[in-house]
Symmetry: C2
Subunit: 332 residues, 2 copies
DNA sequence: CTGAAAGCGCTTACAG
DNA sequence: CTGAAAGCGCTTACAG
């Protein structure tokens, strides 16, 4: 087992002190150009890199961000993480990714580990069951900034970067009206989730405010399978003219599409389809599904900006809502 | 900024030495039960947790595994990672996930960081362009075991855990024959990739060895869009009786399905469809697509087993091929 | 411009 | 059974 090069080794070879080597390497003004040159040359030659554990022990800072998400198999989180990594690289930070598996106990363990590792900051989408804010407050006390994104707590006094649920719902509802649909089946997720509430409220409000008389049928489903079963039953009863299906999420869209395909129905001829989505699932179908986009990439940029503000000492908190964009497929 | 509790703090409060506290906490036989009890109680009370940087600096071991993948938005990798995490938890290791974005330069940086952090081991699916084995050899010299999975190098002397490409292709070909298909359109990815070669070779061999006369049309496409365009062209020319489409990957399946939907064709009536897949995409369609499964979960278990062997000192290397399983949807 | 020294928080051989 | 001491690799105030 070969040892990594250390300051000591460089110092010995060059017959100077460790202190000087350390300073030379960080381009300290006190060190003579000559010494700097010698040190840097040798360091490059033997591929010196500071031991991050020693540095951290000394300085209490890690130059590492943690991103904690419930799941990885999710295009939205994936693009969020890409976005954070892209920015982090620019500022010389690295990013470590943790997966809570939607389990509050695992989440807690991860948070603890982040605290002990004194990460520079944490981006987190909490689990559906996360209730206890204490671990987050503890982080705060230790000066580790936390930026919540996507799945955020109700707790007021924290940084939250969210998808514009209401705005996305509004875009979708508006498009349904514009296309002259009169019968709408709207499928929402778990009624207790805040995003369900936000999307539902604005969606119905928009349809209500229309001059046209819209017949709205709202149902709830908490899984792809449940969606499929419920939609199948409804479609079997027959389809009205100017009919449209709205799916509040990708999971629901997947279930609804299965029922629709199963019935042999085609969009946009037989019915219109529109969803709120990150854009992955809609592209798999022909015609592509029209959707109001919730972009992880844009959210990442916003979250990173907020994080850097925190790190530079700003103590005030903020909730940022990202507006979404309508992406037209041919399904409506 | 509150300080984390340290051994020193416990020692002071209890009026004993740091050494004793340290020993008590790790249940060292030398320490009296009485002292142990006192120490442990106080430690729990003030939520003591050892500073991982200090421990590592002292012991040179991190109890952390790194998983490096080209991309996260991939159900296969997601289930691989889940699997590794599950096992790691049992053995008291934590897992950090890195994303190379399929960029050899980023990959190199990650490897370097893993080396400096002295992670306990690395699981890696390399980028398509990774050619240089030197960084991996360097890791080896430092006693950091590397287990390659899925995308592995050609280099002989290393641990590789792979999907059974040939076996999966064989399963798919066998199923096509069993269903009495006579005309087969087989779509493969980039011809230079080793998995393409392996899958292609066995697939054609299986069909060739049949007593029936099979008309096989092999095409290549390196993206979903390219697949869609090519398949569309072929399907437009008309479909023979007993026709089946084979897709070597999810990406290709997605493209092919778009073309098939676009043509208004239905499986299994108009044509049969079969793929090699991790199981995510096939489930979105109705009927679900029949596929030879490449399970990230099972691969993870195998990889973890290999890793633990390495850690326990075994120096011999091994290539493990995971067999796949046929999952029947209704598409063939 | 350079170096000796202290200390970050821990572990462990050594001495008692 | 307990403690003093050295040391992991680094940074930085202090002294020269």
């Amino acid at each position: 087992m070969r040892q990594n090069p250390t300051l000591k080794k460089i110092a010995e070879k060059l017959n100077i002190s460790i202190s000087t080597v350390s300073r030379a390497l960080k381009d300290h003004p006190d060190v003579s150009p000559d010494t700097k040159k010698k040190v840097n040359e040798l360091a490059t030659l033997i591929e010196y890199d500071p031991n991050p554990y020693a540095v951290n022990l000394r300085t209490h800072s890690s130059k590492e961000f943690a991103v904690i998400v419930p799941s990885l198999s999710n295009y939205f989180y994936h693009s969020f993480i890409s976005s954070i990594e892209e920015e982090a690289r620019v500022y010389g930070y690295s990013v470590i990714i943790y997966r809570s598996s939607n389990d509050p106990a695992i989440e807690l363990e991860i948070l603890k580990s982040c605290r002990h590792k004194r990460v520079s900051g944490i981006f987190i989408a909490i689990t559906a069951q996360t209730k206890n804010m204490e671990p987050f407050l503890k982080l705060d006390v230790q000066g580790i900034p936390v930026v919540f994104f996507d799945k955020v707590p109700n707790y007021e006094s924290c940084n939250k970067i969210c998808v514009g649920d209401a705005h996305a719902a509004e875009l979708a509802a508006g498009e349904i009206l514009r296309k002259g649909k009169k019968h709408v089946l709207a499928i929402f997720g778990d009624q207790n989730m805040s995003i369900t509430k936000a999307r539902l409220e604005r969606f119905t409000a928009c349809l209500d405010s229309s001059n046209e008389k819209i017949l709205l049928n709202v149902i709830y489903a908490s899984s792809s399978e449940e969606t499929e079963a419920k939609v199948l039953k409804i479609l079997s009863a027959g389809i009205k003219k100017d009919f449209a299906v709205f799916c509040m999420s990708d999971e629901i869209l997947a279930g609804a599409m299965k029922a629709i395909q199963r019935m042999g129905l085609k969009a946009p001829e037989d019915l219109g389809i529109i969803a709120i989505s990150d854009g992955m699932i809609p592209q798999i179908f022909y015609p592509e599904i029209t959707y109001a986009e919730t972009s992880g990439f844009k959210l990442g940029k916003l979250a990173f900006g907020r994080m850097m503000k925190c790190i530079s000492g700003s103590s005030f908190v903020q909730t940022i809502i990202d507006e979404s964009v309508l992406v037209s497929g041919g399904s409506l």
